[in-house]
């Protein structure tokens, strides 16, 4: 289809086909689909309207295609599930039949209607009619669009060199792409390098990891950058420019790891790799199998500061002259097409739980410290010893869920600690079979392949599992032995156990510096602090930002197998993009009408991507199409309506407001929801079947930054009882920080309403994440209460006095007929 034909079609009278989907009983069980279809048939412009069982099925799609051809449809509206699910399906069907995909529109009558109003079939049907009316109204104003093709750089960046990062880098490198693997520590390996054996197979962790580490170190396609962190990211899918700081190592690549330097170094500090259980020098290698196998100097510890040489012992000791105190940090600029985030996890620090005495009682340790103690390469040469007296303990207790599943720390289950404890218990039994082992738990979660077997084995080998975590641990100051006081809930009996050593099975949590990565890469985080995937089931390793993927524990707590699986998945997703060599940028970008632009520069200020420039001479704004993310924030800001967002025009949104307020506006609320968070939150409420009142009508925009004050005021002028503006939480905006503008604009309208003596409570602003379906449902109940409280007089008064400001408005601020 040539663009010319599109042009001609646009001018044609709308010939709209409407399809109301039953989705089996999902919609049909609540909404009277036939009645909705019949209603749609009566709407102006609609020339055919049908209800069918599964519109997304092959026959459903074929029907649409056939109708487009037979009835010369130039608009298609499907009322079914969320557009976040099947919009691409139906768009493809339209395209197949020769209809530009941007002439397709959806009404979400499942997630936003039937699933959340299960018990009010009549109101749900009425709402479905409204949603269809909105979709039909918008569809008439849709225009054909041609998306933009952007080339993809065939290089990848992997951030984090734990097992997940290593796996992702190897997969991509083996597929023939150049990969930069960035690790902030001196060696790759991550947590897995620290642990001794791995559940459920009890393999030696470093034995299976070390070969992968060396392979990554010498792979011709992998450039390993250790002691490195990213400092800046610019660009967009397929075309990222990343600034990396490669910190000085002070030892050159010619180091053969002979270790001659270490012996002479006078400076010592706790060894991070051994969880602080042993000491290391200022010049050191983190562990024997480190990759790169090169020493480094910790300059914070070294006696040489700020270029003043106070000690040169290691320099003298090194025969190959690898020590170089003058090395400087390097700033590298990398051009890559895709990025994989594999920054892993921190381990919970139980110090705040004073009742367990961690750090106060030497024989209370964490599970990570245990891994180092039981490891042959660790500080005690693999002997499990009590820190207080270096003796092998006869009785050992494990306390589960420390720092997990708790409002006092992290609310989620850390996923690995149950199995880790079972593994640890078996390891002790293997070396010292006589040891008495007690595991204090709340629930044992042995859900994975081979897990239950391991649990049963531990029980058979004599490990006691006691249901009920101690209330406190007390210490005998003489012997440093510990007494655990608590209740065995299955016996409803109090216990006091004396043990030689207690191991707190600590949870894992997001990296402390993950907000930095989040900001640099413009990612979203779930409420628990882990990076959010684009869809929890269907796009589990994608992020909402194109070209960036997640692997390993950075996305959520998981074991090694799942981390590796996810890493390969992320690599494969990145591979797809790079193999295609190009991406399609959705035709939802901002376009400037040069005849209306006054060169005021407002749009330049609000664009989160700095993608608008003023022409140096004419001052007219220019939008770089390839890097415009399509948030529409500039569009809402322009006082002259000189910018249009393709596919989300003012006229389309006004038409949706008109449709909502056509009948009984005083009983309804107009809601503006952003595609990524609040709309997705509403979808989530639907998927979870959270029930809430029916008055809400949602208008979807890509970003809440698209919502201009005119939209809000217009909704009120049309008599809506309430208006909700909602978006991602501040700091989580999918478009960096566009929601700051949302907040400012809502504040402006609030002030105006206050000044005019209007009830500003009728305008609500809510930050709702994609995970907060419950919050969305609660907000709907609140809004329903607000609607109940609004008087007809208040509505009438608002209509009269909330008039638009007169100055300098261009066309489009008010709906055009």
């Amino acid at each position: 289809m040539t663009p010319k034909k599109v042009q001609r079609k646009e001018k044609e009278e709308p010939r709209i086909g409407v399809y109301v989907c039953h989705c089996g009983l999902n919609i049909g069980g609540v909404v009277d689909c036939a009645r909705v279809a019949e209603f749609a048939a009566g709407l102006p412009g609609v020339i055919l309207s049908k209800d069918n069982l599964y519109t997304c099925s092959e026959p459903g799609q074929e029907l649409i295609k056939a109708d487009i051809k037979e009835h010369r449809l130039n608009r298609v509206v499907v009322a079914s599930c969320t557009p976040r699910l099947h919009e691409p399906t139906f768009r493809a069907a339209c395209e197949d039949a020769g209809l530009n995909p941007y002439l397709f529109e959806m009404a979400n009558i499942r997630e936003h209607c039937s699933w959340v109003h299960l018990h009010d079939k009549e109101a749900a049907t009425e709402k479905a009619k409204d949603l269809v009316r909105m979709a039909v109204a918008r569809s008439k104003l849709l225009a054909a669009q041609e998306p933009l093709e952007v080339p993809v750089t065939r290089k990848a960046l992997v951030i984090g060199g734990g097992v997940a990062g290593i796996q992702a880098a190897l997969d991509l490198a083996d597929s023939g792409y150049k990969v930069y693997l960035i690790e902030k520590d001196p060696s790759i390996g991550g947590r897995m390098a620290q642990i001794d054996k791995t559940f459920p197979t009890m393999d030696c962790s470093i034995c299976i990891l070390a070969p992968k580490m060396s392979e990554a170190g010498r792979h011709p396609n992998i450039e390993l950058l250790t002691l490195s962190e990213i400092e800046g990211v610019e660009g967009y899918v397929g075309n990222f420019t990343v600034q990396v700081r490669k910190k000085a190592r002070f030892v050159t690549d010619s180091c053969t790891a002979c270790g001659d330097c270490v012996k002479v170094c006078p400076q010592v500090a706790p060894d991070e790799f051994n969880a602080g259980l042993s000491m290391r020098r200022a010049i050191y290698m983190s562990f024997a199998q480190a990759v790169p196998s090169t020493y480094q100097i910790d300059m914070d510890l070294c006696l040489n500061k700020h270029g003043i040489i106070a000690c040169d012992k290691c320099f003298q000791a090194c025969q190959r002259q690898c020590v170089d105190y003058s090395q400087q940090d390097q700033i590298l600029t990398l051009d890559v097409g895709t990025i994989i985030v594999a920054t892993g996890v921190d381990v919970y620090d139980p110090t705040p739980l004073t009742e367990f005495g961690y750090r106060k009682f030497p024989n209370v340790i964490t599970s990570l410290e245990f891994e180092r103690l039981i490891n042959a390469g660790g500080p005690s040469g693999g002997n499990l010893i009590r820190p207080s007296d270096q003796k092998i303990p006869k009785t050992v207790a494990f306390l589960q869920c420390i720092g997990s599943r708790s409002k006092r720390s992290n609310i989620y289950c850390s996923n690995i600690c149950c199995m880790n404890t079972i593994k640890d218990a078996l390891l002790i039994k293997e070396h010292w079979p006589e040891t008495k082992i007690l595991v204090f738990y709340i629930d044992i979660r042995a859900f994975g392949k081979g897990f239950e077997d391991l649990f049963q084995r531990a029980r058979r080998e004599g490990v006691s599992f006691i249901r009920g975590v101690p209330g406190e641990i007390i210490e005998d100051p003489e012997t440093n032995s510990l007494t655990l006081i608590g209740e065995d809930t299955l016996l409803s009996q109090l216990y006091r156990y004396e043990v030689d050593m207690a191991i707190l099975s600590v949870g894992i949590e997001p990296r402390k510096d993950s907000p930095v990565i989040q900001r640099l890469l413009n990612l979203s985080c779930a409420a628990d602090g882990f990076f959010l995937e684009a869809h929890p089931k269907l796009r589990p390793v994608d992020t909402p930002t194109g070209g960036i993927f997640l692997a390993g524990c950075a996305e959520g707590p998981k074991d090694i197998k799942d981390s590796v699986t996810q890493a390969s998945a992320a690599a494969s997703r990145a591979n797809i993009l790079m193999a295609q060599g190009k991406v399609i940028v959705e035709a939802i970008t901002a376009v400037v009408d040069e005849t209306l632009c006054q060169g005021c520069g407002m749009c330049v200020k609000v664009c989160p991507y700095s993608t608008i420039r003023e022409d140096p001479e004419t001052k007219i704004a220019q939008v770089t199409q390839a890097s415009c993310a399509g948030c529409g924030t500039c569009v809402a800001e322009c006082p002259f309506s000189a910018i249009t967002q393709r596919h989300f025009t003012d006229a389309q949104i006004f038409a949706q407001i008109d449709a909502i307020t056509e009948e009984a506006p005083e009983t309804k609320a107009v809601a503006f929801c952003c595609n990524w968070c609040s709309y997705a939150g509403a979808d989530f409420a639907g998927v979870s079947r959270m029930q809430y009142p029916t008055p809400i009508r949602i208008i979807r925009t890509m970003c809440s930054g698209r919502i201009s004050t005119e939209f809000i005021e217009y909704a009120f002028r049309r008599g809506a009882a309430a208006v909700l503006v909602s978006g991602c939480h501040i700091g989580d905006c999918h478009y960096i920080n566009a929601n700051h503008q949302t907040e400012k604009r809502v504040n402006r309208v609030w002030k105006k309403m206050e000044r005019l003596g209007l009830d500003k409570n009728r305008l609500q602003l809510a930050w709702i994440s994609a995970a907060e379906g419950n919050l969305f449902a609660r907000k709907m109940k609140e809004i329903d209460e607000i609607i109940q409280g609004v008087t007809p007089e208040e509505i009438e008064k608002t209509k009269q006095i909330l008039v638009p400001k007169k100055k300098g408005k261009g066309e489009g601020t008010e709906p055009k007929e």
Binding site: E355, S409, G471, E472, G486, D488, S492
Partner: protein, 155 residues
């Protein structure tokens, strides 16, 4: 008049409890009176309803010391739950004799223990000052303000 303990305590909070028993493991009352424990009390409320606890004299072993809720990983206000139970139980007249005796004593003397010759002698031995008589009217006023009179009938 209270009809239900859920007027004083948000029932929703009970669902947060996963029976880890860190409360009972911390409870000084449970250490002494083996038949009592906050974990089980909470579970009874949840599974059997309030009637199962307001008629149960064991709840009165709680000293409302707040240690359990200090350590509860789910930040459940367990002592508030017990306070709610006490209130309803008292209104229904389910007040153990010993507790009632103590409350009466406070109302009458301002003290929760009987001050007899032995007590006074012990104080002397410990070189503690003699006990001044208390202003009973003031105490009565305080008790009235706290609503004690509405909750229980003083003898």
């Amino acid at each position: 008049m209270l009809k239900s303990i859920w007027e004083l305590f948000n029932k929703e909070d009970l669902f947060e409890c996963y029976q880890c028993a860190r409360c009972t493991g911390s409870c000084p009352a449970a250490m002494v009176m083996k038949c009592y424990g906050p974990r089980e009390t909470l579970l009874r409320c949840l599974n059997l309803g309030q009637e199962a606890v307001i008629n149960d004299e064991r709840v009165w072993y709680c000293t409302t010391c707040h240690v359990c809720e200090d350590r509860c990983p789910q930040e459940i206000n367990i002592s508030e739950l017990l306070t709610a139970i006490f209130n309803l139980a008292a209104q229904r007249g389910n007040l153990p004799e010993k507790i009632k005796f103590g409350v009466d004593l406070i109302a009458k003397t301002g003290r929760s223990l009987i001050v007899n010759e032995k007590v006074l002698k012990d104080r002397q031995k410990l070189s503690l000052p003699p006990l001044d008589p208390l202003n009973i009217d003031e105490i009565e006023g305080i008790l009235k303000k706290t609503g004690l009179n509405d909750a229980i009938e003083l003898s």
